[in-house]
């Protein structure tokens, strides 16, 4: 297996991009990454695109060929593949690109993620997103994403004494980080009171416990590590890649306060890298709800089970904390255009490891982690990165 590096990253702003179409944002992020990598279009061998539901959000399928075409790559007939695993689509696309380069089949691969979620009504959007859950056992009975994560939150509070305030602290911290990220959807600091006074969505989760719907795209360029220095002085190596699955329905899990898929994916990634959670300086985790970040930092091993809320409250996950979590603002403040999220996480980690994260820079960041989840944890993808 060859060692693989990221040599270019790019992203659009995340948010309500009313003036841009799906192909606009896909191209914008892709071109930014290609320009950052200083490669020419004819050097690209393959394209992987993470996307959850363009077919239902914008009634367009076959989007990998579409993006290749409108990026001017049609005449090069590159291999263009769409990857789908609900919220983990982006992370999984990155893994496919990684495998393609590692295997020696492709040399230069662009991996993008894009979602245009705001062209449909809120209700429709919720129905589309619920398609990632179990249609026969969950959705049909009225369960939605917030409803299921609310069950997780309630159980976590019951089992471990996690408090309403600690949930709020996740959102407050991520908004603080988002305020330092010029591409974040929300660049405004909030307080515990903002979160706890916001409208109820599914008890105990309120509006500010939930990541927003967003339009946006992000992309990276991969190549063999051996060749990376031809393109950049600071290649970022992907040193670990782990993927895992679990039961599709939440109620089939042994323990709804633990995402076994996250644990398994992390284990595999750490094993490949020959590292442990203690080596990680900065992590982008899947905080689609505030409770999700608490589960993630426990299941990734940063904190013991049940201690995630307390650690957040103690400030251990802030920029100056023990482990800087979601420096981009996370899904909560950076935004969550589903298929783009996994790539946006990688873009942030690369930016951190390059030392270019400006006001939100984590000091001496050397090893970074991304954690991308689909559904309520039926898919998890974890990647580890290091300055090459």
């Amino acid at each position: 297996m060859r060692r693989v590096a990221i040599i270019g990253v790019g992203a659009t702003e995340f948010g309500e991009l009313w003036d841009s179409s799906f192909r606009d944002i896909g191209i914008e992020a892709g071109l930014a990454a290609v320009a950052d990598a200083k490669i020419n279009a004819d050097q690209i061998d393959a394209l992987y695109v993470g996307n959850m539901s363009a077919g239902r959000f914008i009634e367009q399928e076959h989007i990998a060929a579409l993006i290749a075409d409108y990026s001017g790559l049609a005449r090069d007939h590159i291999a263009a593949t769409r990857v789908e695993a609900a919220g983990a689509s982006g992370g999984l696309a990155l893994r496919q690109g990684f495998l393609a380069v590692a295997s020696g089949l492709h040399d230069i691969v662009v991996v993008g993620g894009a979602e245009k979620m705001l062209d449909v009504s809120d209700v429709e959007s919720s129905i589309i997103q619920s398609a990632a859950l179990d249609q026969e056992w969950e959705t049909v009975l009225g369960a939605t994403y917030p409803a299921l994560y609310a069950l997780i939150a309630k159980r976590h509070m019951h089992e471990y004494g996690t408090t309403r305030e600690q949930l709020a602290d996740v959102a407050v911290k991520n908004h603080r980080h988002g305020s330092l990220n010029p591409k974040a959807q929300f660049r405004r600091e909030i307080t515990r009171e903002t979160v706890m006074g916001s409208p109820m969505v599914a008890s105990p989760l309120r509006m500010f416990d939930c990541a927003p719907s967003s339009d946006g795209a992000a992309a990276v360029v991969l190549c063999p590590l051996d060749e990376a220095r031809k393109f950049t002085d600071v290649p970022i190596e992907i040193i670990g890649s782990g993927q895992a699955s679990d039961t599709l329905s939440l109620h089939h899990r042994r323990d709804i306060c633990t995402m076994e898929a996250t644990k398994a994916a992390a284990q595999r990634a750490f094993k490949m890298a020959g590292l442990t959670h203690k080596d990680v300086d900065v992590a982008e985790v899947h905080d689609n709800f505030t409770i999700s970040e608490i589960l993630a930092i426990e299941d990734l091993g940063f904190f013991a089970k049940g201690q995630g809320g307390k650690a957040t409250e103690a400030g251990l996950t802030g920029l100056e904390g023990e482990i800087a979590v979601n420096t981009s603002g996370g899904l909560k403040a950076r935004g969550d255009p589903i298929g783009a999220t996994g790539l946006a996480q990688a873009v942030e980690i690369v930016t951190q490891l390059r030392g270019k994260a400006e006001k939100r820079q984590v000091k001496d960041a050397n090893v970074g982690l991304t954690h991308n989840v689909g559904g309520t944890g039926a898919t998890a993808v974890v990647h580890l990165f290091r300055r090459g």
Partner: protein
Amino acid sequence: MKVGIVSYGAYVPRYRITPEEIGKVWGTDGKAMSKGLMINCKSVPSPDEDTITIAVEAARNMMRRCDVNPRDIGALYVGSESHPYAVKPTGTIVAEAIEAAPNLTVADYEFACKAGTAAIQTCMGLVGSGMVKYGVAIGADTSQGAPGDALEFSASAGGAAFLIGSENVIATIDKTCSYTTDTPDFWRREGEMYPRHGGRFTGEPAYFKHIMSAAKQMMSCMNTTAKDYTYAVFHQPNGKFPSRVAKQLGFADPQVLPGLLAPTIGNTYSGAVPLGLSAILDEAKPGDRIFAVAYGSGAGSDAFDITVTDEMARFHREKAPTVKELNSNLKFLDYATYAKFRGKILLGGD
């Protein structure tokens, strides 16, 4: 020839309902809604009121304030998105009611919330070209909000009428310009009871883009800034949007508050800018300059630069109620009565 406003009149139903009362029924936090929208209450038409009666009341108030012979009115346009008839004009009934019929041209206008200002522009053209001596432009609505929809917290009723001419004008219309695109932010199809909308899409790419574009176009044409105007009025689907636009354009509260009626009347749709302008004319003095920008979904904005003349000192404002007077002596409704008034309760056989 200086074309302008010769007279004006307003009308707002006296019934009100609060967001808290509406929220109670739908399980929505009415208080938060009220704060977010900057709407304390909205007007509700009684069962005997519709766009026609509102237009007639406003037109009659307009005629009370001047000595114009109604037979000299050569054109009358009523802008609304709630004309009681799909086929049969509102305007003919209004023309008869103010004794302007039969020697005049009449038509109903529809351009979501800005049909009333489009009527003003048409009358300016007809008067300016000498085709008619006076034209009447009315914006009036009993706007619809589906039960439980966000619109229900704001959709209200009211209207105002303007007599446009070139003699004895109390305010000259120095300039008008428009900004129009095909932007489907809000619509109601034939036969549908309630309009539909694109949620947050009605904000930035619709309301704000069009109002700001028309406003900036006007300021650049007239070489003005916010400081050159005594008053400003913007379309007000709620209190928040116009306040934000005013701030972005550099207007201060004393310029904006006299024409900001959404907090106490709600969104009167085609009546919104006409009513806000009426409230400003209720207190304006000779020499005052007014900046007005309407917005209609679908979408377009009409901007106006208006200067109050010395004629205002001789104008009989007192012969008809001011907007402030219309906005007093209120009766607050509970949701059940409101639902009955608005025809939201469908009886068997309906």
